[in-house]
């Protein structure tokens, strides 16, 4: 009864072990350099969610849920939304909604520049990535169909 192989074949599992960390790193790179080169929070967040989904598709759902359970994904998503709202509301101190309150904007084309834009990118990345992973985990865990038909 315990001989059921979960996940995919051995070739897919070996390649997944080698590449899933690189995909995560690439997603983080795209998020952090969102104000210097194309990308931004949305694309980076989707890539990070795709790396966890890759893990879930290749190894079965228990292994992936040990890395990031559904409760942790909900907490991360809400954290991203609250961070984004806080940055927006803090702008009210300076005048209007979403005011860029770093007065010294840094040197252009450096990594630490452009005021609130990198922080907003990180908040959006957390929100999009965790939300899409929660959607996929709920859809895959839904076992009402394949067992009866």
């Amino acid at each position: 009864m315990k001989n059921k192989e979960v996940g995919m074949t051995l070739i897919v599992k070996t390649i997944t072990r080698l590449t899933v960390g690189l995909i995560l790193l690439y997603g983080i790179y795209i998020v952090l350099h969102g104000h210097l080169s194309p990308g931004g929070g949305f694309a980076g967040g989707v890539i990070i969610a795709l790396s966890f989904i890759h893990l879930m598709l290749a190894f079965g759902r228990e292994t992936a849920l040990k890395k990031l359970s559904q409760a942790q994904a909900s907490v991360l998503e809400s954290l991203g939304a609250i961070m984004f709202l806080t940055i927006a509301l803090l702008g009210l101190l300076g005048g209007y909604f979403f005011f860029n309150f770093f007065l010294h904007k840094g040197k252009p084309f450096a990594l630490f520049s452009a005021g609130i834009i990198p922080l907003c990118n990180i908040a959006i990345c957390l929100k999009v990535g965790a939300g899409l992973f929660a959607i996929f985990a709920a859809l895959v865990l839904f076992k009402g169909l394949d067992e009866e038909k």
Binding site: S37, P38, F42, V46, P108, F109, V128, L139, G144, L145
Partner: protein
């Protein structure tokens, strides 16, 4: 001009799938094609011939950039399209569990 007409033809193919197909998954696919056509139309409007991508470089003064405003609007629209498709597929799975079929002419039982 011909690019705009081709974009409208893509929209009409998706519209035909939404109106005339009986399978729910085909209707969802038609909605996805309509989304692609609308996003494409926005970006086609903001294109400048021999323009450059809207990213500043270190010591170059770039004069001819393509329009960055439609690109900012379409970036949001792509992610919203994904969220709507995920919700539609979830509802379709629930309908299959309750009625046993994907056929929309058989999903007409109102509890009364």
């Amino acid at each position: 001009m011909s690019e705009y007409i081709l974009c409208f033809i893509l929209f009409c193919i998706g519209l035909y799938a939404v109106l005339r197909k009986r399978n729910i998954i085909k209707i969802i696919i038609g909605l996805g094609i309509i989304e692609y056509a609308v996003n494409l139309f926005f970006v086609l409007i903001g294109y400048r011939t021999h323009g450059r991508a809207p990213i500043l470089a270190k010591d170059q003064n770039i004069l001819n950039m393509v329009d960055p405003l439609p690109q900012a609007l379409v970036l949001t629209s792509i992610v919203i399209g994904l969220a709507v498709t995920a919700l539609l597929v979830t509802i379709a799975i629930r309908i299959y569990e309750k009625y046993g079929t994907f056929d929309i002419t058989k999903i007409k039982r109102l509890k009364g």
